[in-house]
Amino acid sequence: MTLTDHAPDDVLERHFEATIARNDRIEPRDWMPEGYRKTLVRQIAQHAHSEIIGMQPEGNWISRAPSLRRKAILLAKVQDEAGHGLYLYSAAETLGVSRLELTEMLISGRQKYSSIFNYPTLSYADVGTIGWLVDGAAICNQVPLCRTSYGPYGRAMIRVCKEESFHQRQGYELLATMMRGTDEQRAMVQESVNRFWWPALMMFGPPDADSPNTAQSMAWGIKRNTNDELRQKFVDMSVPQAEALGVTLPDPELIWNEERGHHDFGQPDWEEFMEGVKGNGPCNAQRMAHRRRAHEDGAWVREAATAYAAKQAAS
């Protein structure tokens, strides 16, 4: 007999709150409030979808990678993203939803993915910039999630973060190599950083004042830092990296504030961000159409696998 079988809801809820308060993990078979479960499914699914959609902008350059070494690195990286999607869908499945249901939520537009992937990749430098800034911002967002209150999610994130760190280093190394190359390559890197800096800042979500879900997520231990805290941290860490690389971050308001011990910086274009969230970003339609086509093209294969498994079981 477990606590869950007979205890009334208020006792269960106190038990749940106490687990959270001790910074212990909630596990799949533990009682949890419905709101907690829903929030987690939404967040983990959105994260998984982001990994899967995120394969497209970088996948765009696999066929044109300019050296065999870079081709291997990029192909392996995009493959890792599929792997991250896989662990995260598995973590979501422990909450009673299937991968297929979640995929259908994605392609019907009922669940979202990170808006960063609605920006186009226009040069090979973008492969490096995505590694450095986009994976970098993802790491800032995700490292605290290794300590998130839901066990399967936190454990998936530990592995995801290790691999993301590796990707980020590879991206930075590509940019550093290009900066040692020709003038055209240096210009290509700067142009790419100009395009991705602001969208990278958007990855932390709207300013805290406009982020309605943050407070509850923090109380439940799902989220560990506010959007603005993480954004500040990302800016502070990126500035010396940009200097070492020899690129300029495209923000005239960016300056070290001695008093605060942090950099002051400008705000991204939140209207453009909202357009992306609403589905009107530069590549939303393209990304969704790609995902939908791949899923629909694969339907007969999945049906065949199911039919074959059923025949095997019957024989």
Binding site: S67, L68, R169, L174, G181, T182
Partner: protein, 318 residues
Amino acid sequence: MADHIHTSPEDEHDSAYSGLLVNDAHWAFGTATESIGFGEDPLAGVDTTIPEGVDAVTLSTYALMLGDDSLVMSHRIAEWTSNAPDLEDDIALSNIALDLLGQARLLLARAAKADESAVPPLPEGSPAPPEDALAFFREAHEFRNVRFAEVVNGDFAEATVRVLLFSVWRLATFEKLRESRDHVLSAVAAKGVKELAYHRDYAARWFVTLARGTDESRTRLITALDSLWPLWPELFDTHPVEAAAAEAGVGVDPASVREAAEAVLDQVFTAADVEPSQAPRRSGVLGKTGRDGMHGEPLSRMLAEMQSVARAHLRGQW
């Protein structure tokens, strides 16, 4: 700025990102170039002496033929990335593409090392290593891959048949190539045998599943088999270079592995209850085919895409 670069110990867990400027070999599994086998010289540490009595041009051209097969096939399989029917298959296909790309790098590097004149000359100041000069700066007619590898992708049944036929053929070749007198080729084959066995098993499982799944999947599979079968016999043609390489004990005569390859294929066909295709062999141009540098239309398009960035930056560093 040095103090900004420092990673403070109490914050270590939260600051994977800030570790980027810390020159720590242990950070994130070490530096990118050293820890994952993507170093600049794929042949570092391997004995590249040409075995006694072996003609360098023969060895180089033979390695180029095998390397081009792997490179072109890898490119086609990599085109499946983000397009597969399920995540597991996306991962499996990228894995196959990565294995073949790894083989291609070693084989092209071997070709360049055996005979430097095989490497196209690049403008002064180009830092491209020989494997890249070969991959990105040759024209389609200089590629020596079999035409099978370059065919434009079809549906997932086509990918299944493509990987199955290619890996069954290549595995039979590599099993013998392990005995090559050339240390590089024998090492590539020894590693490749394990990889190709996985590719073959993956494709064979899907071959049986699609054949015995639904009416639609069976129809698609047989259509795919009929579409690729015309290029199957070319895989066992013996080009004079292959004959010479086999004679010298460094290569394998493709004709000598046909029986072994077809025996394996028959087992898969039997398990799938599929008859071997009756589609006739596809002829060449004036008797010439892939190994002679005579290709179909898709290869030059593939190369135009593959080589575009490298060729736009002749002195670029990547």
